[in-house]
Symmetry: C2
Subunit: 470 residues, 2 copies
């Protein structure tokens, strides 16, 4: 008689247990094609379960093709139900080792671009979220349009007009899953293999990877303390676009003056190419207001990318792309075939967050907070390193650049610094033409406590100028 072990302590229903065991036996060849199964009555009495349990298991196996039922003759294992077993038990051992979480608890990490996570406006967000979940019409739970919620696009276009001089209609906006998706959409919109894009050098390495993935060539334009050196824009290269971070060059930190902005626009007009403006953290400008966008100077030539990762939280994954009119339709299609649309509910919450004035109050509060952090970091750096250090790119955002003319931040030195309990990021990692920035590091300060900043600077100094390690 067919023996099937069943376990009444499991939360798997008995019919499901029997189904699974029979299925395994058939697939592995323990029960072979043509073999007759016991009747439901026999099996139910042998296993001491109700006959319905067996009936349900047999029905499922019949429906899936494992069994054949011949009227009057009984139930048989169907043909072609044997599968050679192929499992590799060692594979999962590898996986368990992947699962290790890299613990960096004791490291003071000067990673750039992380906001002060403990100051996320939870209360307001949670209140608006509660309202959305309870009040919105059921239709909002369905598929949405690729460009994102009109409520958010309207709120954004008003907000950006007022604070950033961005000149756009809500229909020119596509809400994206963070700035990263906006960058991939730009690559798909504008780049084909062997195309050329002009790009600031140095520039975030992730951005280089995204653009290069399309098979195009990046032509580096060096930056100085004022951003891209537009006088070096080449003649005759026919680029598809020029990528710039004019409000706060990443990483060097400059703000592009109006003369260079005008040169960029005249170049784009003359060479019939676009400007891609990545405005990732310009809300936090500590001397005066944020600089007006490049986009506002010539909306027909500029694609503008913004993000809520720095001003709210990276975990939200909400960004946006503002497009010249004739690129809108193509971009919506690309977004649709990427992920249909960005999740609706966070968009609705964010739209409320902006229109009810929470965003601007939050930014004002954070600007004060970050200015304080920045001033404290500069104070620690200058008192610790005195004349050895030159600090740049500190007018805006969540990071600054420290330049130490007598130091080369080699891999070896960076490892030593980490052994002292500090993680810093070399500008060289983001450079295209290598070898020019070995003496510069990026110090992000938005997410650190004052205590960490002070300790971090102290340890960095120790690591650099002590004669023996740790």
């Amino acid at each position: 008689m067919l023996w099937i072990p069943i376990d009444r302590s499991l939360d798997i229903p008995l019919n499901r247990q029997i189904y699974q065991k029979l299925r395994e036996k058939i697939l592995s060849g323990d029960l072979q094609s043509g073999e007759r199964l016991p009747s439901t009555r026999e099996l139910s009495s042998a296993l001491a379960v109700s006959r319905n349990v067996i009936l349900e298991a047999y029905d499922q196996l019949l429906a899936e093709g494992f069994l054949d039922s011949r009227r009057g003759a009984g139930t048989f294992v169907a043909k072609e139900t044997f599968l050679q077993q192929h499992k590799d038990p060692s594979a999962f051992l590898t996986l368990n080792s992947i699962e290790k979480s890299i613990k960096e608890d004791h490291i003071i990490n000067f990673r750039s671009g992380i906001p002060a996570l403990d100051l996320f406006p939870r209360k307001a967000w949670s209140k608006l979220s509660h309202r959305i979940w309870n009040d919105i019409a059921p239709s909002n739970f369905g598929y949405d349009i690729p460009e994102g919620r009109l409520e958010l696009r309207q709120a954004l276009s008003r907000y950006l007009q007022r604070t950033r001089g961005v000149d756009c209609h809500p229909e020119q906006i596509v809400i994206t899953s963070g700035a990263t998706q906006a960058l991939t959409l730009v690559a798909k919109l504008l780049l084909s293999p062997n195309d050329i894009a002009l790009i600031e050098d140095p520039i975030t390495d992730d951005i280089q990877s995204i653009f290069k993935a399309s098979g195009s060539t990046l032509y580096p334009i060096p930056v100085d303390e004022c951003g891209m050196r537009t006088s070096l824009l080449p003649e005759g290269t026919r680029p598809k676009f020029i990528f710039v971070t004019p409000s706060h060059q990443f990483p060097i930190g400059g703000t592009l003056p109006i003369q260079r902005r005008i040169q960029l626009i005249n170049y784009a007009r003359k060479n019939d190419c676009y400007l891609v403006e990545d405005d990732y953290d310009s809300e936090f400008r500590y001397e005066g207001s944020p600089v007006s966008s490049l986009q506002g100077l010539d909306p027909a030539h500029v694609l503008y990318i913004g993000s809520f990762s720095k001003i709210l939280s990276p975990a939200l994954r909400i960004g946006y792309l503002i497009l010249p009119i004739h690129l809108i339709e193509k971009c919506r299609k690309l977004k649709w075939f990427s992920d249909l649309h960005t999740p609706s509910f966070d968009q609705l919450i964010l739209a409320q967050f902006i229109t009810e004035g929470y965003l601007e109050r939050h930014i004002a509060k954070m600007k004060k907070f970050y200015k304080n952090q920045r001033d404290y970091l500069i104070h620690c750096l200058t008192t610790t390193f005195s004349t050895n250090i030159h600090i740049l790119g500190f007018s805006t955002g969540l990071h600054l650049i420290a330049e130490l003319n007598d130091v080369q931040f080699s891999q070896e030195l960076l490892k030593k610094i980490e052994q002292f309990g500090v993680k810093v990021y070399p500008v060289e990692d983001h450079s295209i033409e290598k070898g020019k920035h070995h003496h510069r590091i990026i110090l992000g300060y938005g997410h650190l406590t004052k205590e960490d900043i002070e300790k971090g600077v102290f340890k960095l100094h120790q690591a650099l100028y002590s004669t023996n390690s740790t």
Copy 2:
């Protein structure tokens, strides 16, 4: 004297208004390079605003490079600040017309794949959401890992093992922004230009577009009422993968029997290719339990795609991709360069929703509801069309197929049906080899009321068999 109109009724600060007006005048050439600006004292008295207001406006313009300040000599318009104006005022007229919303209020829409939106479990979701927003540690507001939250991957792997026979470690899962993103990741993982993928025919047109976008060729394998006709798998084509919807073929609706599943796996083993299993709505199987996954039969050869769009809400945009071990790292990188990761908070809420048992209760409730809808639709169709109609693919999911052998669903006829107030979807729209499915339509029923179902079927019959239109 320089005249700057200011408007105290606006909520734009006065210094910002003056900054903007001066900026415009400089860019447009109204104020020319080298021209001397009035002193801050003169201008403040002329405009009757405080001197600080003017100072702030001048400082901003100095910082952005619009002005030069020469000690003792005063403030001047800087060089190279003129920009030829290029605006096209007619462009926005076009946009306003885009904004029209397509109103289909009076149409009964049998679109497939839309769940009953008014039965979304708002209360439970809202409660869990409130808890997450208030309780989680600040670190959760930062950047996350591309594969998604471990909490969700753990909950999913347990849930899928139990309910779908999916055999995976949490490390094999990548959480995606809906199944669409999982499909684009599969295309990027496995397809290069000129590669071949075998695919069911007919199959969702969006899926065809996503795979074809990689420059590869789709080789259609016809389906019958039991899914892909695996006996027609070609020899010698060296495909990269075979795409199947074995639990519930879309659109025809068949469930792939075990014999064909084994054929698929043996084919993949022999031809060293993958199987891509899209399991979009198999939770709702009305006869017995959901059919066990193809993935569980051979995890090393199957990429499994799932989604919460049908069982919860498409607006959430949460899906997942389960990968053979050696594809995991590459897929994580591709996800990172697409959008870094799927938003964290909805993942955390969903993980709780699964582990606290809400999901399975919701599915059980919805299965009853949809079965009822389905039975009512079948009842209406058979009583209205009697022997003219053949209904197939109704064992699972949110749609079925109606076959009317005496009808050809041409574009003209579809338009006529819409004039009668009903929208139906021809299978032919999803076919690769054209011309075989003109007599078949897809009828989605998950989101409709019983009243709509009854009225919709009645009107469809009217449209098909009345002699004159409307």
